[in-house]
Symmetry: C2
Subunit: 346 residues, 2 copies
């Protein structure tokens, strides 16, 4: 189903115009603004064809045309030219990062806020997955007479902590000992795998210290039973209020309450991870999440050591500036990968 040159041009003109004005676009406008060298009447004929093929739609008789999801899809796949950010835009973005990388959460938050600020859409960033990281360090610290604080650090820089109840008999020295054994056995192992195999070895090691054995095993179990949820950062939710398609309060509510659910954000972001090119555009009804049927998302992943560890995405109306947005998302993920590389410096 390939379109002839002129149809492509008309479709492109419609989409470009609609993206920038948010108004149904008529034959006259196209003839005037985009120099196709033909009269409105001719364009009307082309438009009738395009409508029949499903690339554009008419909100009602005697209104202009509006791109359909299929139209956007064609645009994204075939018509859109891949842009590059200008030198200037890149420096603006880079300038917004605070200088020093001190912790990974801050970097992700910054990235997120820059992304939503530049694109004017809503953006999300998902951090490295805790369970897929390797354990770097475990420490049990006495907290008060009958509680201990557990700190688990992964090599992707994530730190998790929680407080455990401590059996009476366990002393500070015992905690130290347990920490040591765990570190010795578990360092460098991925959090995922720890539960399965290695605990036996710890059993063996600790069996030399009979008096705390039972208590210790409970503690280790609890220690590793951490909150495995990876965090999703969200920014620029209010940007949707500036989109004319969200002048309706009901819609705003629906979308915002979707965005409050981390589950949904993860679902959106997981879309991209399957794609080979790393960047993925989902348009309107292609979205698996109900209630996002008139939104589009662009997602991409970032890497540490070539290993995909997280993703980044934006959400906007289907009338999104795909050309620009794709290019910004791409730049941000690249840069994020680069930061990670510098930070973990191999």
């Amino acid at each position: 189903m390939t379109l002839d040159e002129r149809k492509k041009k008309v479709l492109q003109a419609i989409i470009r115009d609609y993206i920038s004005t948010a108004e149904p676009v008529g034959s006259r406008t196209i003839a005037k603004k985009y120099e196709l060298g033909v009269s409105p009447a001719t364009i009307r004929n082309e438009m009738a064809d395009l409508e029949e093929l499903g690339y554009i739609e008419q909100p009602h008789t005697s209104a202009g045309r509006v791109p359909s999801d299929k139209g956007y899809r064609y645009y994204v796949d075939c018509l859109m030219k891949k842009q590059k950010l200008t030198e200037q835009e890149e420096t603006i973005i880079l300038g917004r990062y605070k200088t020093k990388v001190q912790d990974i959460g801050t970097v992700l938050r910054q990235t997120n806020s820059i992304l939503s600020g530049i694109t004017k859409y809503t953006s999300m960033v998902m951090g490295p997955q805790f369970t897929k990281s390797n354990l770097r360090y475990v420490q049990l610290v006495p907290f008060d007479s009958n509680k201990a604080l557990v700190i688990v650090v992964t090599d992707s820089g994530l730190v998790q902590n929680k407080i455990l109840d401590l059996p009476q008999s366990v002393t500070e020295v015992d905690l130290q000992k347990i920490s040591q054994v765990m570190n010795a056995k578990l360092q460098g192992v991925s959090i995922d795998q720890i539960k399965l195999t290695l605990i036996k070895e710890i059993y063996y090691e600790l069996s030399k210290h009979k008096h705390i054995f039972d208590a210790a095993m409970d503690l280790i179990q609890e220690t590793l039973d951490l909150n495995h949820e990876e965090k999703v950062y969200l920014a620029g939710t209010l940007n949707i209020l500036n989109q004319p398609e969200f002048r309706d309060l009901g819609r705003v509510r629906t979308l915002l309450s979707l965005l409050e659910q981390e589950k949904v954000l993860k679902e959106i972001l997981s879309e991209g991870s399957s794609s080979e090119t790393g960047i993925s555009v989902t348009i309107g009804a292609e979205n698996r999440v109900d209630g996002l049927k008139d939104c589009s998302t662009i997602t991409a992943t970032y890497q540490i050591d070539g290993r995909t560890v997280g993703s980044v995405g934006i959400i906007g109306p289907t009338r999104m500036d795909y050309e620009k947005a794709v290019c910004i998302v791409e730049f941000m993920t690249c840069h994020l990968s680069k930061i990670m590389k510098d930070f973990y410096g191999h």
Copy 2:
């Protein structure tokens, strides 16, 4: 400026009615719904008086009356009866808490979400202030060949961490030593005070270890230069979309973008901390934050060991159900104080 009995009753009826219907209330409605034993005409006279005194207002001629800020203030101070939650409501609230307290952030988040869920307003919770807590434990952990992770734990259960660059010469053993010295000297001291006096002692202690002295001092400086911002949790922002006074998108945008700024939230919450009773109601234009002039806030503080460590608040339209809301906020802070007490168990 004390009102006679009947005026009080009329004002109370107007406010009650307006709170529940959000419609300007007329003399007829009051005469019918609230049994004052007089005719609408009489009530009209009373209303004219009340309007002259500034307790109520008329949106336009031939509309009913609406309470003014002054009217609400009088209601809150004099007319409102202090309610108590029913047994049943209390069990519902308590039931929403997940059983085990594992970390302080989770407790605060839960409290927040319960509060906004029950009141149907937007709620905020501010955690213990990091700088006012006492240091419980510091640990420098090697992260990779030239970085270390610092973990600082306070006795209010806050954990902060960040990554530092490490000078070449410092070994794992050195880090351990530095941690030890810091723990020995700083445990139990409030974060506020650490910077001022105690660092000298550490200087002295570490001067025995000449070879790492300079590096160590830098590290300690950096360690203590943590992010001092206390976190404010926000929940139920979308609840405002259900309030008829926010049917207007512009207003929604103004309010939501205010709520995105942590600074503003802190300003709101700080209101209450000056009050003696612990609970504080701010109505409409009383609000210092511009853009909150047609909102009311109710804030209260919670304690650990009788020491005020954080606060809790809700934001709603001035047409807020003060009676109910005050009572819920009060209950929540009491309960929060109780949780804290159990948790830190003295």
